[in-house]
């Protein structure tokens, strides 16, 4: 090992990043090179003296945390002021959820009796994306939607076949999260099995 490489390896060694094989080679070089040994001693002194550059008092940290908390409070109150109140927001989403469920439920009710045009019952997937996203990020809203969906399904439950009821109960957001294509595929399957519903 030459002195140039030894200097690089000395740095790695101080950081604990040297493999045993390289460390052995470095030690062998140091044992025969006074200049590199002096370098190692200088780097070790530098490392030891660097220490913690920022030593603050407990009072400082208490103040630091208090100021940060105040800034976070300001951000959060700004968010609350900018957004509709949670109660109104939840009612708005709930109303949307109910209308979608009513559309899906109505289709099931009608599908048991007669074929229907696809466009008449497929809800708009895009309109539901904000609801799904909001429910995912808001446990309270998710519970509200869950409760409303279950209540709506129970209301239409008498006209749902057993498989659909189980599927919906297992995943209350199922009908909101399926895409238009998926809905068409489901309708197609229903058409094949029962001769009712599905795209024409």
């Amino acid at each position: 090992m030459r002195c140039g490489e030894a200097e690089r390896r000395l740095s790695d060694d101080l950081d604990g990043a040297l493999s045993p094989r390289r460390k052995a080679r470095l030690e062998a070089h140091l044992s025969s090179c006074p200049a590199c040994r002096a370098s190692r001693d200088g780097l070790a002194r530098l490392q030891a003296a660097a220490g913690d550059p920022a030593d603050r008092s407990p009072e400082y940290w208490a103040g630091f945390e208090g100021r940060l908390e105040a800034k976070i409070s300001a951000i959060e109150s700004g968010r609350d002021a900018a957004a509709p109140s949670p109660v109104w927001r939840r009612w708005a989403w709930a109303a949307l959820a109910v209308s979608v469920l009513a559309a899906a439920g109505a289709w099931f009710t009608l599908a048991r009796r007669a074929p229907v045009a696809t466009e008449a019952w497929i809800p708009s997937g895009d309109a539901l994306i904000p609801l799904i996203e909001a429910a995912e990020g808001d446990p309270g809203l998710e519970q509200d939607v869950d409760r409303l969906v279950r209540a709506s399904l129970e209301e239409f439950g008498g006209s749902l076949d057993a498989d659909a009821a189980v599927l919906s109960t297992a995943d209350p957001l199922f009908w909101e999260s399926v895409s238009d294509d998926e809905l068409r595929a489901i309708a197609s399957e229903l058409e094949k099995e029962s001769g009712l519903g599905g795209p024409k």
């Binding site: 740095s11 101080l14 950081d15 660097a50 220490g51 550059p53 945390e65 908390e69 951000i75 446990p139």
Partner: protein, 191 residues
């Protein structure tokens, strides 16, 4: 002492838990302050930067991926905020130099120095602080993470978004520059 694990605290904070986030701040504030202090070189700017780091973390914690390392993520925010700050300060200083050349007085540059009557160790620490403050930003970041915070090259590489080899090279270069500047204090001045 809050005994919740860091993962639990992060999950609560992601759901909007302010108290959980406050506990995360208490656990990491000293280390983050250490990094931004090393980068900025003074307490006033370090205080502003540390506040900025935690505010950014609060705003972005929803995008933090569970399963990844929270402290690595925080360090990354700290390093990025510090590098942005250093660029801004360099621009301001260049403008000050330009203003001074036109006869407009600007703020004077301060360098850390040990108080009068301090020990040789304090003097060396102050000189190291000054010398580290003269390193290029990315070298300073590597020094802060590896030497001050004790991160491995692998962890520092994750924070800095580079390879371990790059961290190794930056550390080698940083030490070389520091040794050159601090020769007389390290007892290596053979001239």
């Amino acid at each position: 002492m809050d005994e919740r694990s860091e993962a639990e605290l992060v999950e609560e904070a992601r759901r909007g838990g302010r108290e959980a986030f406050a506990e995360l701040v208490r656990r990491h504030e000293r280390r983050i302050y250490g990094v931004v202090y090393r980068m900025a070189g003074n307490n006033s700017d370090a205080d502003d930067l540390a506040q900025e780091v935690f505010l950014t973390a609060w705003k972005a914690i929803g995008s933090f991926r569970s399963g990844s390392s929270f402290y690595t993520w925080l360090y990354r925010i700290a390093v990025n905020a510090s590098l942005t700050f250093l660029k801004k300060r360099a621009r301001e200083r260049n403008r000050t130099v330009f203003d001074e050349s036109l006869g407009v007085a600007g703020p004077s540059r301060m360098s850390p120095s040990a108080p009068e009557g301090s020990s040789a160790a304090d003097e060396l620490k102050a000189r190291i602080e000054e010398a580290v403050g003269g390193l290029p930003g990315h070298f300073r970041a590597a020094f802060a993470l590896v030497v001050d915070q004790g991160l491995s090259h692998a962890d520092a590489a994750r924070v800095l978004g580079c390879s371990e080899n790059t961290v190794s090279w930056r550390m080698h270069k940083a030490r070389r520059i520091l040794r050159e500047r601090l020769k007389s204090f390290l007892g290596e001045d053979r001239s």
